[in-house]
Symmetry: C2
Subunit: 240 residues, 2 copies
Amino acid sequence: MVDQALPKQAANISADAADDEPRCFVAKLFGKRARNREAQEERILTAAMNCFIRSGFRGASMNEICSEAGMSPGALYRYFPSKEAIIEKISATHRQQSAEILARMSQSNNIIDAITNVGLDHVRKMSMNDEGPGPRDSSARLFVEVRAESMRNESVAAICELHEGLMREELLAAFSAAKECGEIDPVTDLELAVASLAAVGEGIIMRNFPAQGVPLEALEPVFRALAVGLLRPTKSLANK
Amino acid sequence: MVDQALPKQAANISADAADDEPRCFVAKLFGKRARNREAQEERILTAAMNCFIRSGFRGASMNEICSEAGMSPGALYRYFPSKEAIIEKISATHRQQSAEILARMSQSNNIIDAITNVGLDHVRKMSMNDEGPGPRDSSARLFVEVRAESMRNESVAAICELHEGLMREELLAAFSAAKECGEIDPVTDLELAVASLAAVGEGIIMRNFPAQGVPLEALEPVFRALAVGLLRPTKSLANK
DNA sequence: TAAATGAGAGAGAACGTTCTCTCTTTTTTG
DNA sequence: CAAAAAAGAGAGAACGTTCTCTCTCATTTA
């Protein structure tokens, strides 16, 4: 029960008077209403995320989420049909953000740098508060929460499987390319290397080293060493 | 609601009729009564573990645990004062088992072998069912559950901190010794290596590779590569 | 027979969810 | 364009269920 609610709907009235009465079904998709709905969903998701970080998926109650969002249960349930739905949505976006970091991999010159940077990006992202100023709690907690939930919740498991499948594919493609370029030892089992690197990276992300005083720069050689160890690159790459 | 319960108390009656009435206060500690109490506690803990693996700490209800243990709530609460207490006990023993694996580290000839074996032992242990025959679910789930709980439950966090502190000390001692023996590069930051190896190992344990079809032997070179990468041993050790 | 043990009903709180009602905004109608 | 109608959004009480834990009373054990 903080300073919630704002002037409620009034906030969206004075947006801009230029766009009015689309009156056809397009309004449903792009109109003022639709935009407001999106904003509200966002509000709920942000609040839920904070609650889940604080108390866990099962531990956080709908009332807790309602309070954090400054909303009544009746209002909240207009946007999400169940707690499950919120959990799924949050799991999905969280895992998707992870997957998106991988997309930037191709920006690096060689495969070892690429992996190192992806790892560092992950740790950086996870130890930051999610948008908005002020130091809030790390989102690495959510990472653990999602993984725990995925072990017994079938739909969350499916979500994780989806994004991790994409990540594995992307990594595998990059590794294959590097192999053909002669950057890494042709003997290396790429499938295993992908799975191992994913697991190993997850371990480091979960520990949230930056929150424990280990600076990000200190992790650079760690990721590099892991990549070198698992991929066995040709000498020229191994020695930095 | 499987084939639980057994003949309940009857199980402990016909143990052996030889030892009866020690009658002094020592009986409280070592007598038939005390042994029975221990057995009951064990029964509860085993049941609770199964439930927690199946539904999570928060997800499993006391009724579920009672059913699994073949016990009434009244009986169960005679042995544990709260659900919290059961969670703490299970977290503690689970983490302790992890720490105990480390104790066997000194049996290896060199530091790389030692770490590799510790890693493999962990994975083996975690992917096995806990005592008793029949394939039950992996205890790697419990690992994730404990870690998730430790992020918001202070007493579980303290338990984890305790055992992980011991593990870190033990690892650090082994690394220092290896450094002095000239087995590893004197430049290596041992503190960071310990923390990284712990995190990385945890990641692999959580993924539970054996349950996904990756045989244990395939992980041997992975652990070896991680150890080599992070510790930078002298040449003779690096090439197996 | 006194103490320990267990079964099971159930108390009381908290849970996720739904219901009813009010108020505002948008669309339709005359 | 004004009035009427419909739809959307929100509040908050209330619902039925489930939760953890306790209490009473019967049974077993020494």
